[in-house]
């Protein structure tokens, strides 16, 4: 399976990215659980919102961060934001995906090109992702569960 080309150390950098985001932004640790390979390459929109970063350059695929609305509201509160509109939730979920992808460049290098975030919501069809089976990295922060969904393989 093409998605299995990611190695354990590649996956670990995304787990580290998730941990770093929550600790640095909220001073409260997230528990990042064991990553697993999803069986189907079919696009899935997880939770209420998903921030999606498409990759190019030396890698292709995407990095998605999906989270429930309440978790994002709590994060906005902890960041001092007073606007809890739909736009704010879309903005923060995209920015989290962006920051986790950006963190991964310290491992994958500048050849991993990152597009500005797209935001999907529950029930919305996600972009088709070739035959790459994604890894899901579940995490818990406070009382919420979120997922980092990584589809990635070397580019042409």
């Amino acid at each position: 399976m093409k998605g299995a080309r990611l190695r354990a150390e590649d996956i670990r950098v995304f787990s580290d990215a998730a941990g770093a985001f929550f600790l640095q932004t909220t001073r409260r640790r997230a528990t990042v659980r064991t990553a697993y390979l999803l069986e189907s390459p079919d696009p899935v929109v997880w939770d209420d919102f998903q921030g999606l970063i498409e990759l190019a350059g030396r890698y292709r695929g995407s990095v998605g961060f999906s989270a429930p609305r309440n978790m994002l509201s709590h994060l906005l509160l902890m960041m001092g934001e007073r606007d809890y509109s739909e736009a704010s939730h879309r903005d923060i979920v995209g920015e989290i995906a962006n920051q986790m992808s950006g963190y991964a460049r310290r491992h994958f290098g500048e050849g991993m090109l990152i597009a500005p975030p797209k935001v999907l919501t529950r029930g919305q069809p996600a972009p088709r992702a070739d035959e790459m089976a994604p890894f899901a990295i579940p995490m818990n922060w406070e009382r919420y569960e979120a997922h980092l969904v990584v589809r990635m393989q070397p580019g042409a």
Binding site: F21, Q24, M79, G80, D91, G94, N98, G102, R105, P116
Partner: protein, 126 residues
């Protein structure tokens, strides 16, 4: 005693981060710093830079329409005296070095704490 106002332009495609940087720039340690404009992409950043002539700019690198590195190069010619802090999630060393070579005066990695941003702005203003 009158305080000289120094103008800040905030460039980031995330509204949340534009708001956060604006809030933190009002910290007492950054006295005199005033947000004159915000921009959500590189094209708007250059328009706002020409209009407001800011003394300082905080700038993201991954943005729609015009990416940060291209925007940085134009800003250096439009605002040769301005001091620019790149605030980016791109964590590889090469990106930070390129930004500095393009004329940025500082590089702050996202995610950042409130203290880290205030400290970086203090250094920019020193």
């Amino acid at each position: 005693m009158s305080l000289v106002t120094r103008k800040l332009l905030i460039v980031d495609d995330s509204m949340i981060f534009r708001n956060r940087i604006a809030r933190l720039s009002a910290d007492a340690r950054l006295a005199g710093l005033s947000v004159v404009a915000t921009a959500e992409d590189g094209v708007e950043a250059i328009e706002q830079a020409r209009r407001h002539r800011p003394d300082f700019v905080t700038m993201d690198l991954t943005m729609p329409r015009m990416e940060g590195p291209a925007c940085l190069a134009v800003l250096r010619t439009v605002l040769p005296e301005a001091r620019i802090l790149v605030v980016s999630a791109l964590s590889d060393r090469a990106t930070a070095l390129k930004a500095m070579m393009e004329g940025a005066h500082g590089f702050l990695l996202k995610p950042f704490s409130d203290e880290q941003l205030i400290g970086s702005l203090e250094e920019l203003m020193a």
